[in-house]
Symmetry: C2
Subunit: 217 residues, 2 copies
């Protein structure tokens, strides 16, 4: 594998992936998706970091379909739930079919660029809440993407057996500037420390036993 389109959110998982790919000598084209998130802070974080690294960066603007998939609190007016991802109310953060839509767009760009794969940072901690984060879904999508065009593109998901704590450790080893990644769903000045992604983020650094450079409110 020589070159990829890599989905990036500005969060810690996809940023570790970016550094992991570059460490393996793979040429990366970063794709962020604006699917109508409440705030664009994560996109700005992602863009700034890619620019500093010299990584080509594009935003796929999917706000034109937000209305169709707006049941989620991430795109609508519902309250952002606080608590751990494992809680039932975290299901409110599901955007219907988000991963398939993002990966299909990424595959379109990958086919256009004639690169070898679409990379994304799905990991072992994702799949209890989100049906489209499960390994069996990724396997089925991989099989589909591989035959979507005469130019073959695969779906590369090197973190699928890792935990978020593993990624905190790996990123620390690779020199990822975690203070330049953004997880919080609330989009305030600092990470709130209380929403689902913040709770997971803190926990990952703690479990990995590595420093957490995040400033929490």
């Amino acid at each position: 594998m020589q070159n990829v389109v890599s989905l990036t959110s500005g969060g810690m998982d996809s940023t570790v992936l970016l550094y992991f790919l570059r460490d393996q000598g793979i040429q990366v084209n970063a794709l962020a998706v604006n699917y109508g998130q409440r705030h664009r802070k994560e996109l700005e974080f992602s863009k700034a970091l890619c620019e500093d690294l010299g990584v080509p960066f594009e935003i796929a603007d999917l706000t034109g379909i937000t209305r169709l998939i707006s049941s989620s609190s991430q795109t609508g007016d519902a309250e952002v739930p606080e608590g751990h991802y494992a809680d039932e109310n975290m299901k409110l953060t599901v955007v219907p079919n988000r991963n398939m839509i993002m990966l299909a767009v990424a595959a379109g760009w990958a086919i256009n660029l004639k690169v070898d794969a679409v990379a994304y940072a799905a990991h072992g901690g994702d799949h209890t809440i989100y049906p489209d984060c499960r390994p069996e879904f990724a396997d089925a999508l991989d099989a589909t993407i591989q035959i979507a065009d005469w130019h073959k593109v695969s779906l590369y998901r090197p973190f699928v057996t890792k935990t978020k704590a593993d990624l905190a450790k790996l990123g620390t080893d690779l020199g990822v500037p975690f203070e330049r990644t953004w997880s919080c769903y609330k989009g305030l000045e600092k990470h709130c420390g209380k929403c689902g992604t913040c709770v997971e983020r803190r926990e990952a650094f703690e479990l990995a036993g590595v420093p957490d450079p995040t400033e929490y409110a």
Copy 2:
């Protein structure tokens, strides 16, 4: 199957599908996709017909990703090729991964609406040029969509073994107003009669032995 999201382009195939579904008592939600086509004529045709039929109609605006998948003459500045679809130069009309992107968005809306399936009008004549029209691609995508969410959505493609001539015949039997469908890639006042879709359209009516109400330039 009680209700579906059905992809519609304003062309003859997807309009026959619309009438076919309604004839079976299936409740239809029509989804047109604006992926940066040169002209919006086909969207206007589709919208007007759905409104007259009382079918809920939405446009998924994907123009925010056009730049990423712009190698095609359908979205860029290249000349629209004339001739038969079977010609090599018709490959210029391929939009990378268009079907997967459109069907992934349709599945997102279907999950949101909690309907049973996404329907689309892929038929047996499509698959020689477009890799993402092949039955094996549709089968793989169906398997993926079915596990994309806890609410199961299937991919319904009742025309996959039919030819375009079969659809001309079926549509005539179902009373489809073909004069209110639009195929031509050129988007002029009348169908040009010469581009790939016009050639296929004329041929379908001829082979079916049914009247072609289309006015060609």
